[in-house]
């Protein structure tokens, strides 16, 4: 057993070394008998729960000494409660892990008064991303020609979870295209949005990659939905390219370039891109608390690299958490960097737009 484990570690170390050329792989401390707590600032029922529950047993296997990894939920105040709590934690013995998501990143970017946390203090060890696809109903889909030119006089209804959530990305994109989309707020999850679309109450919708594949593709095949655009994916240089999961669907960038009056430069574009990056390609990030020594960070990075290197990883992850690209170590740091640094002008643009379009202001009452 132990020889198998150590040989596995060699393999992983080798892969880790090639993947993370900059990082030296140190001999990791034995964690056997310990319990790692992975705190998720959402309830048991959300997407982040699914994400952590998927990774927890894999991480447990990959860490030296196979410690138990338990997922702990700390919901409240749209995840700011859990994040504020994590901000107060300091490194103890490397048994605390925290998982943030786009819904934690957005309030931070928007200057939500409840935010008392600072991403720069934390140590990212792993990040995963997703993509998204927007689609139209049959009737308006027939008028879609790769541009939004003929969609501008249609009254669109969209089931939304709230303008300050991930829905900010599609809402802003549609607005930049000059489309009239009225969000119907107050739905509890994107699945409810799809249901509203299926009932014909909404005539435009978007889903993240895995939900699109399982829930919306059947609609496209049945002819009741027409894909409009994907948000795209980031290449190594930070440019938006076609989403590898949906190579046949044009990106928002392409549609915008082809549509009269939509520009892929300027404040609106910068803002859209910044929030897209924070919400999709680096949506979920695992952190160690501030003050964590380098060897502990290395231990976790090696472990996650090991998870990623599992021969069956692509297969088991695709079904359970969606085809997310996974970033470890330096890549995770880069992902965090792009996810949390938004130019002030872009921020100001978004807060101004939220106020003007939806009356939303995140200020103390």
């Amino acid at each position: 057993m132990s020889s198998k484990r150590s040989s596995l570690r060699h393999v992983a170390a080798g892969i880790g070394a090639t993947l993370l050329a900059a990082l030296p792989v140190s001999a990791a401390a034995d964690m056997s008998g310990k319990t790692v707590q992975w705190v998720i600032p959402f309830s048991e029922t959300g997407g982040s729960a699914k994400w952590a529950n998927f990774f927890a047993p894999l991480l447990s296997e990959a860490l030296p000494g196979k410690p138990t990894v338990v997922v702990k939920f700390m919901p409240g105040a749209g995840s700011t409660k859990g994040a504020n709590w994590f901000q107060r934690q300091k490194h103890k013995d490397g048994t605390l892990l925290f998982g943030s998501s786009g819904s934690t990143q957005f309030p931070y970017l928007l200057g939500d008064p409840r935010v008392r946390y600072e991403y720069k203090d934390w140590n990212p060890v792993m990040a995963t991303g997703t993509g998204g696809v927007a689609y139209l109903d049959k009737k308006s889909g027939a008028r879609f020609d790769g541009t939004a030119n003929k969609l501008k006089d249609i009254e669109f209804i969209y089931g939304s979870q709230g303008a300050t959530r991930l829905d900010l990305v599609p809402l802003l994109a549609w607005r930049m295209l000059g489309m009239k989309v009225e969000p119907v707020f107050g739905i509890k999850g994107r699945g409810d949005g799809r249901l509203m679309f299926e009932r014909g109450e909404a005539n435009i919708d978007y889903q993240t990659s895995s939900a699109y594949l399982s829930g919306s593709m059947p609609l496209v095949k049945a002819g009741t939905a027409v894909p409009m655009m994907s948000w795209g994916a980031l290449d190594a240089n930070g440019n938006i390219v076609r989403d590898p999961t949906f190579p046949d669907i044009a990106t928002f960038k392409e549609v915008c370039e082809a549509t009269a009056g939509c520009e892929t430069k300027g404040d609106a574009w910068d803002a859209w891109k910044a929030f897209f990056v924070a919400g999709f390609p680096s949506q979920k990030i695992a952190f160690l608390p501030r003050g964590t020594p380098k060897e502990v960070i290395d231990t976790y990075e090696t472990a996650f690299a090991k998870v990623k290197a599992r021969p069956d990883f692509a297969k088991i992850s695709a079904k359970r958490v969606g085809k997310y690209p996974m970033f470890v170590g330096a890549e995770a740091k880069a992902a965090l960097g792009t996810a949390t640094s938004v130019p002030d002008k872009a921020k100001a643009f978004v807060t101004g737009w939220l106020k003007e379009a939806y009356g939303v202001s995140l200020k103390k009452k």
Binding site: E44, M74, A77, T80, G162, G186, D192, G215, K365
Partner: protein, 676 residues
């Protein structure tokens, strides 16, 4: 016929999957775990499922399903123990059961009430499963026919049950429901994110109050405090009448009510977005309306148990439809369930639209595992009910501290915040006064439960209807007045009409005497003051987020008008008028040996100690002091019972991987679990 040709082979495959000894073994294991967890108020299926999650990865699908379904299926069955024996609504599924179940326990007929409830649950579960077996293949278009106007109407139908439960003065019940609706709007609005009766300085309030806390505060705390003051046992007779066989007979005598309520349960459960919160109230209302002699409701009418209990297990089956067909969870535990299914086996089973096409056998396995789990769970519960019913004969002063312990722990699980305990205490105070002055507590709770759906569906339906009307008048009318909506409107109107006529004969609080003017008047003034403040608060929300203010403004204003009428009536009537109902004037409470405030102070003491020393230390001090001082036990006995309570709490929390509320002490020094 086409349905049958698709269903029968898959049913056969499902039977092959289920009827293996090892699968049944896992099912029973799940059922036993579910029963153990369901007995605790406020924990429910989510806590249990989370406990199982670590084992689901790569597990043989049918075994994992058997384990999980066994657990989820019996929670609405076993939470009946708490609602009947202690008057504690264990989950949203057992709120209506409290109304008649607890009075029966007090009459010494707990075993009868329990077994009637369990028989009804079992029957409801089986009706649900049978119905689903065929319905699930044809359900898709039907589910899609339920748009926002239809869901809004179902919500309004639920709210119309207030008419039946309003009590002796209809406007008083209406005002209580209005207060419930307003309390439900506390926090960040769904639509525009405006704060209502909350501030960012207290992040706890921005999330709004949780149903567990409001349910415990409104029903459990007033009953516990009242019983504790009288220092008797729950059952007023020393010998327990009504064995479990009587309960089964009671259920059989009301079998048609059980059938109808099961159908109500399935039908409402199928609608995604409503969840189970309205089902038991609609079923209760139906039970009242179809009973000739209504005088016993609220005092221990067995039909008041059979109705809601038949519907709440049937609802679990109905709730599978949106979960399996659309991948949209009908409840919190279903959301965890969907996530867990993805972990099973090689991850091939995907809950959602493809389920019926690719995994019909698995779909049927889920439906019938649910039914089977119901059977196993019910039989176990009925077997246990006779023995457990004896709890009601124990001197209540020895039971109460453990109940305080349990509900404080349950409340803390909802938000893991010390504020959970503060909120529980505050809502408990409201509950105590609503009970004392004969304001309808069920009306308040219905208002609270339906506040969010009522507001959201109104806003959403209005928005979409406006867009349809812009396209054309006819299109708008077609959208709002679909055939389903019209049928629901008729049902609602009929239900309100008869409800108001019958409300006077249903006295959930018993015959409350009237006496002095001062106390009821002060409470009414405080009540009105909160409503006015809430209305003023809502009116300060800027007009560009109109959707956030219109609902609290409208509801609040109507409630204020009700209160003004009540005030007028108080000024013009003599003090013997029913409007001055006050339990402290005559009856059990007035004759109780102990005062209200000194009894409540014990519970407050537990909270204050928790805030300082953390929950476990506080609990030790509280239990010890209570047994020694209040119950007058010897030191040795006090210490023994305290140790038992603490050990039990640690065991439960340890197994479920839960924390306890920390206090000031914990922020100063690091302590090991369970003292953290």
């Amino acid at each position: 016929m086409e349905l049958l040709t698709a269903a029968l082979p898959a049913l056969g495959e499902a039977a092959n999957l289920i009827f293996q000894p090892v699968v049944l073994g896992y099912l029973v294991l799940g059922v036993v775990m579910g029963l153990a967890i369901g007995v605790f108020p406020g924990l429910g299926g989510i806590a249990g499922l989370s406990l199982l999650l670590p084992f689901m990865f790569g597990m043989e699908p049918v075994l994992g399903l058997a384990l999980m379904i066994g657990m989820v299926a019996v929670v609405p069955t076993s939470d009946t123990f708490a609602s009947v024996l202690m008057g504690i609504p264990g989950s949203s599924a057992s709120q209506a059961t409290v109304l008649d179940g607890f009075p029966l326990a007090r009459k010494g007929e707990a075993a009868r009430a329990l077994s009637a409830a369990f028989s009804s649950s079992l029957f409801g579960g089986l009706v649900g499963a049978t119905f689903l077996t065929f319905f699930i293949l044809a359900a898709r278009p039907l589910v899609l026919a339920f748009g926002l106007p239809e869901m809004l109407m179902v919500t309004i139908l639920g709210l119309s049950m207030v008419a039946i439960l309003a009590g002796r003065i209809a406007l008083k019940g209406l005002a209580a429901a209005g207060l419930g609706l307003l309390v439900g709007t506390i926090g960040e609005a769904d639509a525009g994110g405006s704060l209502r009766m909350a501030t960012y300085d207290i992040p706890y309030l921005t999330d709004g109050l949780k149903l567990v806390i409001v349910g415990l505060g409104i029903f459990a705390i007033p009953e516990i405090v009242s019983l504790l003051r009288q220092d008797k046992s729950i059952s007023s007779t020393a010998t327990l009448g009504g064995g479990w066989l009587d309960g089964v007979r009671d259920w059989f005598a009301n079998i048609w009510l059980s059938v109808r309520c099961s159908m109500i349960g399935v039908a409402v459960g199928v609608i995604p977005g409503l969840g189970g919160s309205v089902v038991d109230w609609i079923a209760y209302g139906h039970a009242v309306q179809t009973t000739k002699d209504k005088s016993q409701f609220g005092k221990g009418e067995i039909r008041g148990i059979v109705g809601p209990e038949s519907s709440n297990n049937a609802k679990e089956g109905g709730g599978l439809v949106p979960t399996l067909l659309f991948g949209i969870p009908g409840s919190g535990s279903m959301a965890v369930f969907i996530g867990a299914v993805a972990l099973l086996g090689s991850g091939d089973i995907e809950v959602g639209p493809s389920m019926l096409k690719n995994n019909l056998d698995i779909t049927y396995s889920i439906v019938w595992l649910l039914a089977l789990a119901n059977v196993v769970g019910t039989l176990l519960c009925i077997a246990a009910s006779g023995g457990i019913a004896r709890l009601t004969t124990i001197r209540f002063t020895l039971v109460a501290p453990f109940l305080f312990m349990l509900i404080a722990f349950a409340a803390f699980q909802s938000g893991q915040d010390l504020f959970d305990l503060v909120a529980l205490f505050a809502i408990g105070l409201i509950g105590i006064f609503l009970r004392r002055f004969d304001w309808s507590r069920p009306a308040f709770l219905i208002g609270f439960v339906l506040s969010n759906p009522a507001e959201t569906f109104t806003n959403q339906a209005y928005q979409i209807a406006a867009s349809r009307f812009r396209r054309g008048f006819e299109e708008g009318i077609d959208y709002i007045f679909s055939p389903i909506v019209i049928v629901l409107i008729v049902v609602t109107v009929v239900s309100i009409f008869f409800g108001i006529r019958q409300a006077k004969s249903i006295q959930a609080e018993g015959d409350v005497q009237s006496g002095s003017k001062r106390a009821p008047l002060i409470f009414l003034l405080l009540f009105t003051a909160y409503l006015v403040i809430a209305v003023v608060d809502a009116s300060t929300i800027p007009d560009d987020v109109f959707t956030d203010k219109v609902f609290p403004l409208t509801v609040g204003s109507i409630s204020v008008v009700c209160c003004l009428y009540l005030l007028f009536r108080m000024m013009t009537r003599p003090e013997t008028d029913t409007i001055f109902a006050d339990k402290e004037v005559a009856g059990e409470d007035a004759e109780a040996g102990r005062g209200l405030w000194s009894t409540l102070a014990w519970f407050a003491g537990l909270l204050v100690l928790s805030a300082v020393f953390g929950f476990i230390v506080a609990l030790a001090l509280f239990l010890l002091a209570f047994f020694r001082v209040r119950a007058g036990l010897e030191w040795a006995w006090s210490a023994l019972l305290t140790a038992a309570g603490i050990a039990f709490m640690c065991l439960v929390a340890g197994l479920l991987n839960r924390d306890f509320p920390p206090g000031l002490l914990q922020s100063l020094v690091e302590l090991p679990w369970p003292l953290t």
